[in-house]
Symmetry: C2
Subunit: 471 residues, 2 copies
Amino acid sequence: MSEIDEIFRPRSVAVVGVSDKVNRLGNLLLYSFVDMGFEGKLYPINPKEETVMGFKSYPSVRDVEGPVDLVVVSVHPERVPEIIDDCVAKGVKAVVIFSSGFREKGEEGRKREMELVERARAGGVRIIGPNCMGLYSPSSKISFFPGMPKERGVSAFLSQSGSLTNIVGLFSNLRGIRFSKMISVGNASDLDVNDFLEYLGSDPETRLIVCYIEGVEDGRRFLKLAKEISKRKPILIWKAGETEGGARGVSSHTGSLSGSREIWGAVIKQAGLIKIENFMELAGFVTVFQNPYLPGGNRVVVMSGPGGPAVSTADACEKAGLRLAMLSEESKRKLAEIVPEFGTSTSNPVDLSLSSSFDVKMYPKATEICGLDENVDMIVEFMPVLSKEIIEGLMNAQKKVRKPIAIISSVEYAMVETSVSKLFGVTGGMKLIETIMKMYESGISVHSSEQEAAKALVALLNYRKYLEKAE
Amino acid sequence: MSEIDEIFRPRSVAVVGVSDKVNRLGNLLLYSFVDMGFEGKLYPINPKEETVMGFKSYPSVRDVEGPVDLVVVSVHPERVPEIIDDCVAKGVKAVVIFSSGFREKGEEGRKREMELVERARAGGVRIIGPNCMGLYSPSSKISFFPGMPKERGVSAFLSQSGSLTNIVGLFSNLRGIRFSKMISVGNASDLDVNDFLEYLGSDPETRLIVCYIEGVEDGRRFLKLAKEISKRKPILIWKAGETEGGARGVSSHTGSLSGSREIWGAVIKQAGLIKIENFMELAGFVTVFQNPYLPGGNRVVVMSGPGGPAVSTADACEKAGLRLAMLSEESKRKLAEIVPEFGTSTSNPVDLSLSSSFDVKMYPKATEICGLDENVDMIVEFMPVLSKEIIEGLMNAQKKVRKPIAIISSVEYAMVETSVSKLFGVTGGMKLIETIMKMYESGISVHSSEQEAAKALVALLNYRKYLEKAE
């Protein structure tokens, strides 16, 4: 799929539907390239203005002097066909059509969309969209929204929803999750979910693929691709439109057919896909599947400073299908050496007591003890205060443990600097992000609730089983 | 229960187990009163030191000149009985025993705890704990942890877990949720969950009760109380220890018997209790049950700027048992007047498009239109950017709508000021908290995911049905 790879690395981009006089959504798209530090040429297209955002403006794509690799279009849908003609005439490789008003608007819109695709294909131009945000790639410095991170992650996001793609990009960054590539395909009239999935499957920048899908046209190809790729890279799938109301939303959103819940259930199972249902799960699951270690079995140690969450996390794990590990007598003895005599428990669930909020070494030490116990396959830790000091200790423990370690904590809270973070003398705020990203790479995941952590770990275990069967 | 009310309003407090020379957990407890601005007398007890934290220190509780209403004890468990004797001799009303090492430590500990209770009861002293944090009440300026909010909320938290109580208090504050009272009862050897539940049931400061429960001794009394109180005040219950692993945790944590899942299921149903399972749900459900409006039925409007979450929220609502409302033709016509022509949907789920992130009036206007439609019982809105401007618009809409409005957004993200919040020109940061609290009071709740919002609204609808039956 070197064609898509070329589309991801444009040397020049024209944006149609921008103005210096009126505030248009196209301006946001143009500014996104500027904000990202795009190093190629940028050409605003507006026949009535001399310059836009300080760049020389051109009457049409045809009038640009040099070659134009990528065009982004944000104009009234009725004007899109003439822009496509311009692109064909200019020899443009691909067009991102931000404009909506096509298939999602009923039969007439669908016809308009099909004509557009025919016109583009005949002229050798590929379409992304319409009704989409387009492409984001830190390595080639292209983006569809301002404020997106400039640093590359190891996961890709492939989505039929546009704004969701911005939201996932912007909000994930606050949780220390970044992306190799993000693709919003919208109505997917030409290049579709399958094309991009195939591309991401062999993209060396991408270790993990997350898809938000409303419906795919060629389900057979999707299944074949997904089956093949998920042997090498985990694929998380957020399938929307599973209910009557949801399916109605899908039809007016991207004009897709959402397909029956039963069929998708079978596809997900056969292809070893990992199902997620909301942004919280997306964030938590990505960190668990970035982790380099697969669990040997379902025996979990639950560890917590506060005793209540030790109990509720134990409940969540067992309800999800994990089993509380029986710690060896030696492990218990070692734990007893590092925790206070009272208000603690050295059997699983392990209760470290309030003291663990003040002694930043207690969690890491207990992690090492439990993680090295041969009766243990993975560890879940409830941790109210997520600080640089504790994270660094845990990363050292993880090097020895080499089993999945999942933390229930709030990265968002850690980002808010309060009197409480000062009280504990811990490092909080945005400075934490780099440390948290290193932690994910080391094998430690972060989750928003005990239920989400347990669900993610069970999914990881199931994925290991899928890989074994698939071999 | 004027006895408990008196315990909540001490005029003088002594703290045993503090030192100026060594950093002890008791210091944290003493400092909590200082930090809260406690206006009564504070007496540190330490026979070897002259002053602690600037307060004159006393050799024992007996040696304090004036009366002592409340004593907080944080010493080795073997030393607790003599402190109780001092309290009896001094005529102290109540003792919070922070110390652990009692019933949760097996048979011997249980005996030690029973002896303690006998000794205290014979001397007319009430015990809170052992193995607990104690009491928090903004109106009498008492607290068990530094950094707790000084302002009073309308919900009470009653918990068998200690540290969980701090965590809920501190973290809820960052989501704009505050408490009338917080009670950590620990092993509940004397004053127990039932006593405090009865008290909170008639406490005029408390409109809503949240319980974290591991097990209660007198289940019959609990059921009777809960049934009676939940007719007047919603009771949310976080029941831990429902699995084998969880129950093992309960036994080493507070030495309770967690009781069978079946029995608790029946209690919860009979008493109209509202079940929650983690902190995210606690926060979201509190805001939905603080809301003054009960839904008339299960017909929901889903509204979103990003189209993907419109679909996934519709799915979540229908899976939880709500039904997507059919908007009237008039409502659709009015919506069409305020949303862009393309990339939007005026039928339910309502898609406001990316423009709604820039036009802060769009969500409020759409809320008013849908909320006044007689086919609609409640509204769920997915809202990436939670700003002062949008909140104020929504509160105005809510005044006319008078139906539950639930928002899926992240208050935590809104607190983190980033380049993105600047881009949208919206007010973020800690200044938002006061606005968010007003929003809750107006009838608007906030949720961490579409599933949690849908679950909370279904619980609210079930509570309305419970109230009707109970009449």
